[in-house]
Symmetry: C2
Subunit: 172 residues, 2 copies
Amino acid sequence: MKYGIVIFPSKPVQDEINSYRKRYDPHYAMIPPHLTLKEAFEVDDAKITELITELKHIANETEPFDLAVNKVSTFAPVTNTIYLKVEPIQQLYDLAEKMQSGKFPANQMYSYVPHITIAQKLSQDEYSDVYGSLSMKDTRLEDQIDRFHLVYQLDNGIWTVYESFVFGKEYV
Amino acid sequence: MKYGIVIFPSKPVQDEINSYRKRYDPHYAMIPPHLTLKEAFEVDDAKITELITELKHIANETEPFDLAVNKVSTFAPVTNTIYLKVEPIQQLYDLAEKMQSGKFPANQMYSYVPHITIAQKLSQDEYSDVYGSLSMKDTRLEDQIDRFHLVYQLDNGIWTVYESFVFGKEYV
């Protein structure tokens, strides 16, 4: 089964991010606004049980932290994805790193860039227009994060949550 | 904020149920296939914190159980919703009952009927056609359930998972 690990911001922040995604992100209906900690990976049932125990340990070792967005950025020219750049804080890198080592499959192809996608799969012309107009907007957001979620993908492409991991609150 | 409490069946069962929902359920993209334990209710942040502790206790008191679907049924003439009738087992009624009493707001308007919706908001003609054809299909499904999820609704109508509650595994 195909799994991923994400952080969902709080509802007010998700609602604001959706106002952009609704127009520019074809994955809008596939998953709520999210910050990816670990990109999609394939594992079987036995392995995921093992990884869930690891994820509980990781959650218990993590303190709640503040997340801040100050500007829009882009992965162009690699892809023309436009995203909210999440201020680089150590906790996010630590989380992503722990999910690439030990019992976890290493599946990170590029350096980890904490971000929340708001536009993707645009044509080149659309991309230029949208990036130009989003860059001029005030996209500052702040949030408190105290959990992450293990999600899996259904055949129709939509992601379902399997389990939540609340920092300092997991029973192992 | 508006919350609900649901059970998501396993991926193979969700995929099969989605094959019906895709055609007949306008809520298809709003939430994955689910069995509702407690319908949408409004509570503030302080109250939900209190209810989460209750939900952990409830999860810890519950043993994993088997869920079976044997036929299609309908809420007509109250609404023309068509659903997979979940075999009535005590655990489901106990869960639903606990989420209506104690600290929980009582918001259950009808007797609890364990079901998974596959079609709704159809015109009367569509309803008759769809119910006729679904009634003749073999819709038997079996699954093992070991958790439920607290979900909340975004402004765009899509539901996000806030927290999972795994039977016998919650730290209170």
